[in-house]
Amino acid sequence: MNCITRLVGTAAIACSLGAGAANAADLSFMSFTYAEEANKAIVQTTLDDFKKAENLAVEPLGFAWGDMQKNIFLRARSKTLPDIAQLSERWLPTFASLDNLVDLNTVYGKDKLEAAFAPDALAMGNINGKQLALPLLSGSIGMVANKEVLAKAGINDAPKTLDEFKAALVAVRDKVPNSVPYTMATKNNGSILIDFMVWNWVHGGRIIDDSGKVVVDSQQSRDALTFMVGLMKDRLAAPEIDRPDGRRLMGQGASAFYFDAPQTRTFLRDFSGKGEAFDVNVLPMPTPVLKAEDKPVSVQWGHLLVQFADGGKAKADDPADKFLTYLTSDKVQTDFPLKMSALPVTKSARDAVAGDAYLKNWSAATGDARRNEVGIWSNAAELTNVIGEEVQGALLGQKSADDAVKSMQARLTASMEKAKKSE
C-alpha cells in the first residue's frame, strides 16, 4: 500500500510539475534567427520586451535555417506545431496546405493589413488570396562587393556589365592571392538556385513561367549556365562554396563579390571580427547586366511569420496574435529589422527609417526585386533539388551545360506534372 501511495504521490508531483512547465510560456515561437549566434540576443531582447509590454511569456524554439522546414513538417505530422513560426518567404507555398495555418485576413481584416503593410512585403505572405503569413522583415537578394578587395585589385567602380564584371574578377584573381573572386554558390542546392536564377534572368531566361510551364530549355538559360561554367574554368569561382562560406571569405577579405540579402552587413560584421568598423567595406551594387541598357535584377527576399492554431482559427486577442501584432508594431519594426540590416515591412516604419544610408543604398542598388520563380510553387523543394543537381553537375564538369539544361527541363516538367496531380 505504501508503495502504491508513493507511486501515486510521485505521479501527482510529476503531473503538477509538468503542468507548471506547460504554463510557464503563453505561446511558442519557432525561429531560425534565434538559432543564429550573431542574432540570438536581438531576438531574446524582443521577446523580453514583449513580456514586459503584454505580460505574456514566449517560449523560443531555435532551429537552424536548414532544419526549419523539416521540423515544421514533422511537427505538423505529430500535431506539435508551435503557435508562431518564422519562415523564409520561399517556404510558404510548401506549407500552404496545412489545415491549421491561420488566414490572417480573418484575424486582422484584409483592409487593415493592406493599410498597415507595404504592398511588396504583404504580398510575400499571400497565397491565392489568403494571407497565410505576415512579413517580419524584407529586402532583396542582390550583389554585394567588398570595397577593400576591389581597391587591392585596382578597381575603382563597381562593374556594370558582364564584361566589366569578368574583367574585375580576373583582376582580383591575379592581384589578390588566395582569393575566390566571386563566391558563387557551388554547394547546397538552395543556394545554387539563387545564383542560377539571377544569372538566368540577366541573360533573359526564365526557369518556370507564371502559368507553371517549365521554360528553362532555352538558349538564354544555356548561355547563363555556360557563363557560370566559364567562371569555374577560369578559377574566378570555386567549388565547395555555400552562402555561409561566401560570407566568411568576404569578411576575411578573400572574396570580392557574392549574392546575399541586406542582412549580409550583420554577418560580415561578425565574420570579419571588426564589428561595425567593417561596414565601410560593404558595397551593395546592381547585379551586372548583359547589355548596358538592361535593367539590373535581384530576387525578392524576406522573413515571414505564420500562425498555427486548431482548425486554422484564431482571434486578435489570442496570445499568439498579440505577439504578431507586437512584432509588426512601429516599436519593433523601427528597431529589429535595422539590427538585422533589413527593411521594415510596415509603411510607417519604412517612412521612419527612410534615412538609413545602408538600406537606402541597398534599395537603390538592387532596384525592384523579382519574385522567386521557383519558391512560389508547392513542390519548390523538389524543384530546387533538381536545379541544384543539374547546375552543380555542369559546374563540376560532370555534364555539359546543354545536357544539364535539357535534363533540368525534363525533370522539372515531371515534377510540376506530379505536383498538379497531387493538388
Binding site: 510548401t94 506549407f95 496546405s97 554547394k187 567549388p239 565547395e240 563540376l396 560532370q398 497531387s422
Partner: protein
C-alpha cells in the same frame, strides 16, 4: 526406480506449489526482465518500421492533408527511377569499400597492437579514440582535412610537390566517395581491431613459434596460421561491418550531403532526401522498406551464427 516414481506421485501437492514447476517461475521472471527492452524496441523500432511499411503503400506528400492508398505504386515507381537504382549501386560500392578497407586496416592494426612494445597499452587506448568521438564530429574533422582551401591533405601534397595547386576533393565523385569511405574506415577500425585483438589473444604462441622454426615467414604465418585461427571472428566482423555500413547515414550526410550531385547518395541519404527535402513520405517509406530488405540477408547470417553459437 519404478517404486520411487509411484511413491512420488502419491504425495499430496502443496497448495503453494508452482503449477509449471520451478522453471515456470524462471520463465516469468525472464519475460518480466525482457519487458522494458521489448517495450523500448516496440516503441522506437517496431512501431516506426510497421508505420513506414504501411506508408509505403500510400501516396503522402506535403501537399496532401491525408495519405491516399495506392497499393504497390511506389514500388513500381522505384523500379523505373534511375536515381534509386543509382543509390543502390552507390550503396554497394560504399559498403564493399568500407568493409574491405576496415577489415584490412583493422586486422593490420590489431597485429601491430598484439606485438609487445613499450607504450602498447597507451597506443591501444588511443586507438579507441575514433570510436569514442561522435561520428558527426569525425565527419567535420575529415571535412577539414579534405577541404579544398584550408585542408591538411592539400597542404601536405603540395608541400611534397605531389600536386601543383589545391584540389577540390569533395567536388569530384571519386574524391567524395574516397572521403566518406576513409572516414568510415577510420571510425570502424577500433571496433574491428578489438574483435581481432580478442581473437589473437587466444592464438597458440607455440604453434607460431613452431612454424617459424620450420622456416615460415611473416606472410606464411599470417596465411596459414593466424587467418585460419581468426576465421570465425572474420566472418562475424564482415557481417557486422556490412550491416553497419548499410545503415550508415550521419557521416556521409555531414561530410558530403550525398553529393557532389548524387555521387555519395547511398540508400539512407536517398530516404532522407525523399522524405525531408522532397517531402514525399510514401516514396521515401518504400525506398526505406527496400533498404531494410537489403539489410536482411547479412542480419539473417549474423543471427544464424549467434543461434548456432558460432
Amino acid at each position: 526406480m519404478a517404486v520411487i516414481e509411484n511413491n512420488v506421485g502419491a504425495y499430496p501437492v502443496s497448495p503453494h506449489a508452482n503449477r509449471g514447476g520451478l522453471k515456470a517461475g524462471q520463465s516469468r521472471m525472464g519475460l518480466l526482465l525482457l519487458l522494458p527492452a521489448a517495450i523500448a524496441f516496440s516503441a522506437v523500432i517496431l512501431y516506426p518500421f510497421l508505420s513506414a511499411l504501411g506508408l509505403s503503400l500510400f501516396e503522402y506528400t506535403v501537399e496532401m492533408m491525408e495519405p491516399r492508398y495506392i497499393g504497390f505504386e511506389n514500388f513500381a515507381k522505384i523500379a523505373s527511377d534511375p536515381d534509386v537504382w543509382a543509390a543502390f549501386w552507390t550503396t554497394a560500392v560504399y559498403v564493399t569499400l568500407t568493409t574491405l578497407g576496415t577489415l584490412v586496416a583493422g586486422l593490420g592494426w590489431a597485429l601491430i597492437m598484439n606485438q609487445p612494445f613499450a607504450g602498447r597499452g597507451v597506443l591501444r587506448s588511443l586507438s579507441l579514440l575514433p570510436w569514442v568521438l561522435p561520428s558527426t564530429v569525425s565527419a567535420f574533422i575529415w571535412g577539414w582535412i579534405f577541404n579544398s582551401r584550408y585542408g591538411v591533405l592539400n597542404a601536405f601534397l603540395m608541400e611534397f610537390g605531389i600536386i601543383d595547386f589545391p584540389r577540390a576533393w569533395l567536388s569530384t565523385p571519386e574524391g567524395a566517395m574516397l572521403a566518406v569511405v576513409l572516414t568510415k574506415i577510420w571510425l570502424s577500425i577500433p571496433l574491428f581491431m578489438s574483435f581481432f585483438l580478442a581473437g589473437l589473444q587466444n592464438l597458440d604462441k607455440e604453434q607460431i613459434d613452431a612454424a617459424r622454426v620450420d622456416g615460415a615467414g611473416n606472410w606464411a604465418v599470417l596465411r596459414d596460421h593466424i587467418l585460419p585461427h581468426l576465421r570465425p571472428v572474420l566472418i562475424i566482423v564482415v557481417v557486422l561491418g556490412v550491416i553497419g555500413n548499410l545503415q550508415q547515414f550521419d557521416t556521409i550526410y555531414a561530410l558530403t550531403g550525398g553529393g557532389p550531385v548524387r555521387a555519395t547518395t547511398v540508400l539512407s541519404v536517398e530516404v532522407y532526401r525523399r522524405a525531408f527535402e522532397q517531402w514525399d513520405i510514401g516514396f521515401a517509406s518504400a525506398v526505406g522498406v527496400l533498404w531494410v530488405a537489403s539489410l536482411l540477408p547479412p542480419a539473417f547470417l549474423y543471427l544464424r551464427m549467434l543461434v548456432k553459437g558460432n
